[in-house]
């Protein structure tokens, strides 16, 4: 077992035992469901919208090279600097070099999971650059030195009182724990940071190839300030975020709001089309877009799971996932939590180290059912299991299944064995749950059914005999 799995198992033991927190998470999400489903039902045909969205993303992903080139050409035509980063390190170095060249002193950051993915804050801080998260949720987890709990709702696990305590520790007395008050506290601090900053870093929800724009969706308005006030704006965007046409946003923006947050449309949807143009009075002097691969092309090379690149990071699959709701976001130990994280992390960071996330699923399929762009999530978990075994199985598991295969592929042997089933079960029921019970992992928390008097085979044979006594 690698250290990562051990850590996962340890964390899961803790979080699954924390019933109050699990209940809190479920309650928090019930508000989302109450808003989301009516909105979804208000679509003339939500299923058709999903099919269309999947088709657009299919085209986007299967002709990624062309679309990205178009994007770069159009963006550059308006003075945007586009950089293709193959790895996280290249992206980090690009930002660091920019900071040095431009004499950057202060940085604000809008919510960006790609930034988390490549550990951008850590890299900047190591070089002495302070970074302040401007998204309220991200700001809170930053103050707590935590990672986001959910890639759309970073601090959904925290209760009001915990947020107040966090603020008090960092900022002194803050008064009440009313959400409005806490928001005002953060706002006062963050406004100063916006005015001070000379570099704003963001991600993007969509790259529009046709027009060379990036599209950012948010509810607070902080991303607009991050992108507009500082002298330089850098957007760090995964290459899969591309959509071919401007009009595609007419489908994707409401869909993202609906599936992601239970909103018909998110508060602010802003398109950025380059740095300040001649004659304009505001906007950054420089606008850089870093297009990040960081192993996304490994997924692209896998025809079976390529559709995972359709993801618009709405987070809906997390919200419906019983695993996520019971183990919590931090237990995953990944940038992307929940079903989509369990699917893509093995591709992004190594199958053998991250295959346990694909194993830690009942394959219930709630994720696949909810995903607005129809990613076949739970079957991809199954494929990851298969791929991991193909590459390197566990010897005793293989032996077990080989043995079982031998037994189950010989009907006579099976018939003989099944006669032992009832006495075996009866014997087991005497020590069920004891420390030496071989199925203790089951019986510790659940009982087994009481053994029947006869197996179905036996019952059936008797019944047939009675029906035709001479046979």
């Amino acid at each position: 077992m690698t250290g990562i799995v051990k850590l996962f198992r340890r964390d899961v033991r803790g979080t699954t035992a924390d019933t109050p927190r699990r209940t809190f998470i479920r309650r928090a999400l019930s508000g989302y469901f109450a808003k989301r489903y009516p909105l979804q039902d208000a679509y003339a045909d939500w299923q058709a919208a999903r099919t269309t969205a999947a088709a657009i993303k299919f085209d986007a992903v299967n002709r990624l090279d062309t679309h990205l080139e178009t994007f770069a050409r159009q963006a550059e035509a308006r003075g945007t600097k586009v950089f293709f980063a193959s790895t996280g390190a290249q992206a980090r170095d690009y930002v660091l070099a920019l900071c040095r060249e431009q004499g950057v002193r202060s940085i604000v950051k809008a919510k960006t999971m790609t930034g988390e993915e490549i550990h951008l804050n850590e890299a900047l801080e190591k070089e002495g650059y302070g970074v302040v998260e401007s998204d309220l949720g991200e700001y809170i987890v930053q103050l707590r030195k935590e990672h986001p709990y959910h890639f759309v709702f970073p601090c959904m696990h925290l209760k009001r009182g915990e947020i107040r305590a966090t603020f008090e520790k960092a900022l002194g007395d803050v008064g009440s724990d009313e959400p409005e008050n806490l928001t005002m506290v953060a706002r006062r601090v963050l406004r100063q940071e916006f005015l001070k900053a000379d570099l704003g870093i963001s991600g993007a929800n969509f790259l529009v190839a046709e027009t060379g724009q990036i599209s950012i969706t948010e509810n607070e308005g902080n991303a607009r300030l991050t992108c507009a006030l500082p002298r330089i704006h850098v957007a760090l965007v995964g290459i899969e975020k591309v959509v071919p046409r401007f009009e595609d946003l007419a489908l994707f923006l409401p869909m993202l709001g609906t599936a992601g947050a239970g909103q018909a449309l998110t508060g602010y949807n802003t398109l950025y089309a380059g740095p300040r143009q001649p004659g304009e009075t505001d906007g950054p002097e420089e606008f850089h877009v870093i297009l990040l691969d960081n192993h996304r092309t490994r997924l692209l090379a896998d025809p079976e799971q390529r559709d995972a690149l359709h993801c618009i990071r709405c987070g809906a699959c997390l919200n419906v996932c019983p695993i996520f709701k019971n183990i919590g976001g931090h237990a995953y130990g990944t940038t992307y939590q929940g079903p989509i994280g369990s699917v893509i992390t093995p591709h992004l960071r190594g199958l053998q180290d991250w295959k346990h996330l694909s194993g830690a699923s009942s394959l219930c399929g709630a994720c696949t059912e909810t995903c607005p762009v129809k990613i076949d999530l739970h079957h991809h978990l199954l494929q990851n299991r298969r791929n991991a075994v193909r590459e390197k199985g566990v010897w005793w598991e293989r032996l077990l299944f080989q043995g079982f295969g031998l037994y189950a592929s010989h009907a006579a042997l099976w018939r003989f064995g099944s006669r032992l089933a009832v006495p075996g079960l009866k014997l087991h029921s005497r020590f069920s749950g004891a420390w030496f019970d071989p199925v203790r992992l089951w019986t510790k928390t659940r009982t087994l059914p009481r053994p029947p008097e006869r197996t179905f085979r036996q019952l059936w044979a008797e019944r047939q005999k009675q029906k035709s006594p001479r046979a």
């Binding site: 019933t19 699923s361 399929g365 079982f404 592929s409 059914p449 197996t455 179905f456």
Partner: protein, 241 residues
């Protein structure tokens, strides 16, 4: 119609009466039921664990056992989904691909068979009391069987179906997952069972499902926690008179 009954291995050994009830219901509608002797297991445990090479000989045994069948009816959503949905994938590119597709094409889950193949919703059953229904994930999402079991239950005289809030939420069984990640599996069972326990206040006395593996998880958790609730396979309800 000549129906070959597919009795998943754990049903054979732990829940014989559910399979017997399924046979009775089908016979009651005037069809002949046979139980192929050489059936063993569908290979799902190995398949779901990623050991596809090891799953194939087991699944091949199933292909062979039902090769001569006209119609195969499975007692349980999960194993039926294995035959209908996953076997063609498992045998893709092997000499048995066509056989697997043929089996998939003629296999029906029990409630699906009654409602969609036979067009029967009323089997003449009588069962006094209120029940709640648990959707097994494989039946619900791999096979799309939200409606058939409910249609059948609606027609049972004396029975009232009380829907629980978390009807579609996974019970946490998931095969080997239930022991490999027992902590997560148990937490999921707890959420499911709390939703079931809520319905007891409305007079529910029995939890019905078309998947016995889920029922094993659910009733197992309830009993362990000192709140036993009777679990019944849909077929047992439908065989009640």
């Amino acid at each position: 119609m000549n129906v070959s009954l597919f009795v998943p291995c754990f049903v054979d050994q732990l829940y014989p009466h559910a399979a017997l009830a399924a046979a009775q219901v089908i016979e009651g509608l005037g069809h002949t039921v046979t139980v192929p002797e050489s059936q063993t297991c569908c290979g799902q445990p190995a398949f779901n664990s990623g050991y596809w090479d090891e799953a194939r000989p087991v699944a091949a045994q199933m292909l062979q056992a039902f090769a001569g069948a006209d119609v195969v009816v499975g007692v349980g959503g999960s194993c039926s989904a294995m035959a209908k949905r996953f076997m063609p994938e498992l045998f893709q590119g092997t000499p048995q691909e066509e056989e697997a597709k043929a089996l998939a094409g003629k296999t029906w889950e029990f409630s699906e068979f009654l409602v969609r193949k036979l067009g029967v919703e009323d089997v003449g059953a009588r069962f006094e009391g209120k029940v709640t229904f648990h959707d097994g994930c494989h039946g619900l999402r791999e096979l799309g069987l939200k409606e058939p079991p409910r249609a059948l239950l609606r027609h049972v005289r004396g029975l009232e179906l009380v829907e629980m809030k978390e009807a579609e939420t996974c019970c946490g069984f998931g095969g080997a997952f239930s022991v490999k990640f027992a902590a997560i599996s148990t937490a999921m069972a707890e959420v499911k069972c709390e939703s079931i326990l809520e319905t007891l206040g409305e007079g529910v006395s029995c939890i019905v499902s078309n998947d016995l593996s889920c029922l094993m998880q659910i009733t197992g958790w309830l009993e362990k926690n000192g709140k036993p609730v009777r679990g019944m396979h849909l077929a047992e309800v439908l065989a009640s008179r």
